[in-house]
Symmetry: C2
Subunit: 191 residues, 2 copies
DNA sequence: GTCTATAACTCGATAGAC
DNA sequence: GTCTATCGAGTTATAGAC
């Protein structure tokens, strides 16, 4: 089994069980390898965790890029984004928040996770800009949109009520649409 | 040093350094006690963590109750709430997300943290109801509002940009205000 | 690349004197 | 309530054969 397979399985196991008290022994036997092989392929434990963080961030970036390449309309992209994120969250969501907390505490291996927020904000910003509403404070709207996504994901993972999070997201979408229309009154869209 | 002092200091230390790899030995010597005393007052390590979670949840509930008792206007209460949460977040925010992640992974000692979301949602719901906008889907708005708070807090703790989170919150507030006015067109407020 | 074995250390928890 | 001492288990990391 090569390094890449091992890494994928490690992410999967950590996602299901948390990184907190999963020893290398436990992980190794759970994913069908030995402790020795983990050290052989990844080095120290923290190096493995760094590889996990990088893999998560890389997949996130790939997903995001693919999303906006496929969907031009920002509202459709937003809806499709939630669909993907929510589906994925059942498996990696808890790990994402756990590693983010480690980043907040300054652990070096978790540092790349900090990039996830600005990255999504930038994508949302570009989408808002493309939508042509120049009057709206696009930077604030972008950050707000990303925050809504994270917050509703957080709530869903804690109380399991996906439908409630989706209803809240629909409400937010309609509020943004209203904002859009108001801004278009004196500044019609290009296209 | 009594149990309460110990607990307060433990929360403080965990908040600054994370719970992840803080051993009882490390914690004890950092807060000026012995490992023996931690076991004496709290029992097993997980019992101590449970006490920490309870203390956090209790303080949160107290803050929330005090907030709405003091501020009748929901917009003013929202603003004041952010002021408090943001100030507190620099110290306990990371711990909050870390323990929430543990709750997502099903750790029993962290379970009470799940109540934090519904609790804040209920408070926001009551505030929205008191504001008299019956046409707005109040449950969705309440969950959305709480999610905005959590999401902007999350972003702030990761990138350190408090001003950006506040700008986004101001935008959200104005969007809710617009929603309010629209709903009042055919249903004027009481009082 | 994969295995077994183990060194060196830290952990949670307990014992028992004071 | 507080201390020192220690048990037994579990941890990361490495050694060395194949």
């Amino acid at each position: 089994m090569g390094r890449d397979d091992l890494l994928a399985k490690a992410v999967e196991y950590y996602a299901a069980n948390g990184v907190r008290d999963t020893s290398l022994r436990t992980l190794a036997s759970a994913i069908g390898t030995s402790q020795r092989m983990l050290h052989y392929h990844f080095g120290a434990r923290e190096d493995l965790l760094a590889a996990v963080v990088d893999a998560l961030a890389a997949q996130d970036a790939r997903d995001l890029e693919d999303l906006f390449a496929r969907e031009a309309d920002p509202f459709a992209a937003g809806r499709e984004n939630w669909r993907r994120v929510a589906a994925n969250a059942e498996v990696v969501g808890a790990l994402y928040f756990e590693l983010a907390a480690h980043a907040m505490h300054g652990r070096p291996y978790a540092a790349p996770i900090r990039a996830a927020v600005p990255q999504r904000v930038e994508a949302a910003f570009a989408a808002a800009y493309r939508a042509g509403n120049a009057d709206v404070p696009a930077a604030a709207l972008a950050r707000l949109t990303v925050a809504v996504g994270h917050g509703l994901l957080f709530a869903m993972l804690l109380d399991g009520d996906r439908a409630a999070s989706e209803a809240a997201l629909d409400l937010f979408t309609s509020m943004v649409r209203d904002l859009d229309e108001a801004s278009r009154t004196d500044a019609p869209p290009p296209s």
